[in-house]
Symmetry: C2
Subunit: 111 residues, 2 copies
């Protein structure tokens, strides 16, 4: 039974990995800083580790899908990430793919 739990945990990890780009890009349509993003997703039932989200934000910026700006107007400077034009293009593609996949999988599960 322990092994079943391991297999289940592995499924959860793999599924979460697949949708992480989607939800992070989606949330960055508004300027968002790392901790805020982690909290918003957790509040929506999508808990992602900070040590998953922070490197992902940097990677998406390196890939030109997000850009970042420092807000230094407060005591605690924060780096805000926001989606770029390329990021919006990709977000539209992967959202369409996600919805198509959900539809196809639901049709299989219901048979």
């Amino acid at each position: 039974m322990n092994e079943l739990n391991d297999i289940y945990a592995n499924f959860v990890v793999e599924l979460r990995r697949g949708v992480t780009n989607l939800v992070v890009l989606n949330q960055c349509q508004q300027p968002t800083y790392g901790y805020q993003l982690v909290k918003e997703l957790a509040d929506s039932g999508i808990p992602l580790e900070a040590n998953t989200v922070y490197p992902l934000l940097r990677r998406l910026e390196d890939q030109g899908l997000l850009r970042s700006d420092w807000d230094t107007s407060t005591d605690k400077p924060r780096k805000y990430y926001q989606i770029t034009e390329n990021g919006l293009t990709l977000l539209a593609q992967i959202t369409a793919y996600w919805r198509e996949s959900v539809k196809n999988i639901e049709s299989i599960l219901e048979v």
Copy 2:
């Protein structure tokens, strides 16, 4: 733009990996042989490579989630896979997780 295509392709691969266990276990509620499974999934808009599906069937059998029986009654012997009790338990868990995830992600995408 080529890089965007690569990023999109990578997303597709990761998402597909996450749902592969789900759809394969689901289809094996009926005795199913490898090629039949590949075809059924492709017909439902979920194309999986044969060289993904065949090793996965063997792995799921090793994990005790599927069992297999040879049908030697025809000229072309076929190995049929069918879900076990443990497999059904896991399938129920991952189906519930999948549906909860879809609901949470949809709620984020719609904001």
